[in-house]
Symmetry: C3
Subunit: 430 residues, 3 copies
């Protein structure tokens, strides 16, 4: 298992690496290429939604595509070149080909004074403008004179594109996984999310599942709104837990962003796994939200969903800049999140409410359920098993019991198996 996951981690990193050069935005061919590459790994269903489609309070915007962009100085030298980094162009920039003085040009430039080597990531989806992003040091090197600003882009009616993969389980009850594919060459935010989700989906599909899994790759905000507008009724009926997967590739501590009230089944699952396996994790409230949980947990939508990250969006120094690159993301970081999500899904698949079948404590000895290992380890296992039995009273699921008796839930799974085999535990049907 460990070495399997090593291999998978390498594959996840390779996918991040391969997707990195593509210029993505909330619409356009970058999204299509991205979904096509993912589609080679899992059977993705790609949807196209026309510009102008009404989706709740929003409208699908025009489609944006870009072929080239640069700033030339008077000598013809390209001082800023989209071909070197797609971050150089403000996302959704309208076409331009114009000579400007340096002061005129400055009004279209974006840089980060506090991170002078980084190219910032800037977009303007809903107000038509054009602009270039450059490092603050490059900006300071620009001399007086005239510059040609050139952007060869289209902003016109087209489609919004998203991908969906549904893995059917034994029941219609669903686990929902969402990640987004609208960021250009940014590695942690957001290629780590789709890359981990892709291999998680492959793992999910390789095993027989109790629950159905709905896994979506959407552009952020407008994409999740589009998806909800098409699927809200069935999701409200069926989704028991959802995870928004974002910024999951760096090597720092995990982050958890709670649902609106922090009290859904997804919160319960995530807090149990993080609390026992990664107790150093950072807990954020819904007030700290900023990704698609904003839509999934909105009033009336009310999906039981949390966001899981490594370094949370907005909270790490490389965020939304060219420093969020293939060095920030590591196969070890990706592997950790992949395993965290597998732990959450294993828990959901295993979790149930049990009742002990006898009054009083059962006599474990006559059934050989007292382990014959070294005394102190055996004593701990017996203590934990007796505690599991003590709280298997039909009112607690395994997560409750894990929390009550302070034992990681994965240590309970083999005990539950033995106790069920011995007819000592009965599963409650809800």
């Amino acid at each position: 298992m460990a070495s399997d996951d090593d291999d998978v981690a390498q594959e996840i990193y390779q996918l991040v690496h391969d997707l990195f050069p593509i210029c993505r935005s909330i619409t356009g061919n970058g999204v299509r290429q991205t979904l096509a590459m993912i589609g080679k790994l899992i059977p993705l269903n790609v949807h196209e939604v026309p510009t102008g489609t009404k989706v709740f309070d929003w409208c699908v915007p025009k489609e944006w595509n870009i072929r080239d962009a640069f700033i030339q100085d008077e000598t013809g030298k390209k001082v800023v070149d989209f071909k070197k980094s797609n971050l150089h162009v403000v996302g959704y920039s309208v076409p331009v080909d114009q000579w400007l003085s340096l002061p005129e040009l400055q009004e279209h430039l974006y840089s980060l004074e506090n991170s002078p080597e980084a190219i910032p990531y800037v977009t303007s989806y809903y107000k038509e403008r054009w602009g270039f992003c450059i490092s603050h040091n490059e900006r300071l090197r620009l001399t007086e004179g005239r510059y040609r600003a050139y952007i060869d882009s289209d902003l016109k009616p087209g489609h919004l594109t998203y991908g969906e993969y549904i893995v059917r389980g034994k029941t219609n009850k669903e686990v929902f996984l969402s990640t987004y594919v609208c960021h250009p060459s940014l590695a942690n935010n957001e290629l780590s999310g789709p890359a981990v989700a892709t291999f998680l989906a492959r793992w999910i599909a390789r095993h027989s599942r109790k629950y159905t899994y709905r896994i979506v790759f959407v552009p952020e905000t407008i994409g999740s709104i589009v998806y909800l507008s098409e699927n809200l009724d069935v999701m409200k009926k069926n989704v028991i837990a959802g995870f928004n997967i974002s910024c999951v590739g760096d090597n720092r501590a995990y982050s958890y962003v709670a649902s609106r009230y922090g009290n859904t089944y997804a919160d319960k699952v995530a807090l149990n796994v993080l609390g026992f396996k990664h107790p150093e994790f950072t807990r954020y409230s819904y007030l700290d939200r900023g990704s698609d949980e904003r839509q999934y947990c909105s009033p009336g939508v009310d999906l039981p969903l949390v966001t899981l990250c490594r370094s949370k969006y907005g909270e790490y120094p490389e965020y939304h800049s060219s420093l969020d690159n293939l060095e920030l993301v590591t196969s070890e970081g990706l592997r950790g999140t992949y395993e965290l999500l597998k732990d959450c899904i294993n828990l959901i698949e295993r979790n149930a409410t049990y009742r002990i079948s006898c009054f009083g404590e059962p006599q474990l000895g006559k059934r050989g359920l007292y382990p014959t290992l070294s005394a102190s380890k055996a004593a701990v296992i017996v203590r934990d098993m007796m505690n599991l039995i003590a709280y298997a009273d039909g009112s607690n699921d395994l997560i409750d019991i894990s929390n009550l008796i302070k034992v990681p839930i994965w240590r309970l799974y083999p005990m539950v198996d033995k106790l069920i085999e011995a007819s000592l535990l009965l599963e409650e049907t809800s």
Copy 2:
């Protein structure tokens, strides 16, 4: 507004000043004169309840009036003189005209060893006796010899007097304000209460109101019991929040005395306003009660009411002595409480439960609801507005939202107005 309140603060202080010389008690002409002066400012309805009227477990006592009182020494010199301070006579003293030795006189004297310059405030409503209150230093200066104790008072069947002003609003649901008028020349406890309540009533009546306001000026304990005995049914049906206003004129931190379980709507209102605007306030439990909340929150009465003070009765050094005078009370102190109570009433008038009208986040940009101020201030306003929207799910009133998103409620009012105008918020009818 600020300068208006400056003017009002001066008027409130003037009323305290004008009422100060009157000798009030739980019955008698002092109460009548006090209510008459208040009645010049607001249309007060004055009620007279006869001695002997049964009121719950109590009985309206005899009416007490006093014209003069003094202690003369053998030379005829008045060593204690009611005309200099009405605190000199124990409240409800029966008439006396008698020569006594100093040791005999001592048994009728009250002074404060720990505050030797102050005349204490002492009453004996339900046991007939007579007595004089003097400063401890004066008491020590009394020499051996004979003294004439003279009190020209009446204690006989009459009436208990109280004032009531009801301001009708659009609904029968009521906000209840109570203060008391039974203390003689004590400024904070209790002229600050009726003076602030008078001008608060005037302000309430000058605006169109959603709620009806029941504002009463009663003698403490027996007066609130009388009032409840006459109005309990309608009050239990209609009062949604009540405030007992006491000791509100000094310049120290605010105090809050919780209702019996601290969980009424009045507690919620007061804690929100105090928490955001006056976080240095002191929180007292119902175990610390001592004013008319003892009646209003008693079992079976159960009005949703809290007491608001500056320095709480019993907790400041000048309490119940001649040091509680016109220097302790300031127009700034009075103004602060006046505004605190206006904040509470504004909140009650504005508070409602809202639901966002769309699924997912609304698109604020297309409605011009993204402010165009400086970037960082605008970002805060947008964040707060999005948080308001996030919790406007039909389960929270504005106070809940203010508490959840940690934003003062008055910063939410203009946002609510804009969102209602944009048809994004719907008020829930309960």
Copy 3:
């Protein structure tokens, strides 16, 4: 009362002393002798349950009796002798008479390296074996050579024996007291329990009682399972609070072991009494359980029961060794627990839910309920009485009120009596 309890404490200690030499186990004549001695003090009903009887998930084991046991060296000298301490033989040892080499013998010896002077207490109820327990120092003194191991015991079909005493009260609702009688010469664990329970039972029976008291003396685990299997239905219906009494004779701080969720009436009673009278007590959760609460609080049994100890089993250095002797237990220690349990029972007998009979505060003065003691003490009593009245709203029992107003419940009893006499308090019938 104090001197009465001194006498009782001496009697309790004497009973521990007299029971100490008997060799008890979970079955056999030691239990019978023990119950016979207790039966001289209270009218105990002794039950015999045959070997092989099915009891929930268990089966009544064979009966064990022992007459003699020793280890002889080659010179005939007894190096270990059951007659000197019955702890020397592993409980439930099968008969043996065999010569062994020292290495062979070592496999049947048990000692405590960390407490080298103590003889450990070891049993093997459900796996047939034989063994001897000796101090580690004695063990080290054994020299090479051959040894005769001799145990003259029986392990054959017989009975399990337990004692029961039911004191009828005015209602069928029951208070349940359980203690165990299966430990050989161990003083705190467990002669302190049956000795205190015996004299507590005598005290209970000497007064007219509202509740019925069910007091049982059982072998631990299998005995409580036997008892539950015979009485579960009536106990589930009638028991309102239960106390498992164990390790109650040393002089250290009290311990409380919570019920499964710590929320039963027994928890409420114990926490109130301990909190006000013995605030230094140690609070253990159900995860720290280890005595018969394991059966009484098991799922489906769900009796409202807590365990009360001085030093909790498993938590004191002398536990389960020959150091748990007549020096560890003191009459002062026994007396304290005896009084703690009397406090709990007095509380249960007195506890009720009251409602004040009038609106507003009652006028205590006209009824002479203002005490005429020294001023400050009287003020405290009046404050406490007014607080009692304030929370006597029909929703709180006396324990709730004690907790809310922070006054020990025994200080409320005389106030309740006076208020009932004055018709100011009405008892709510549930």
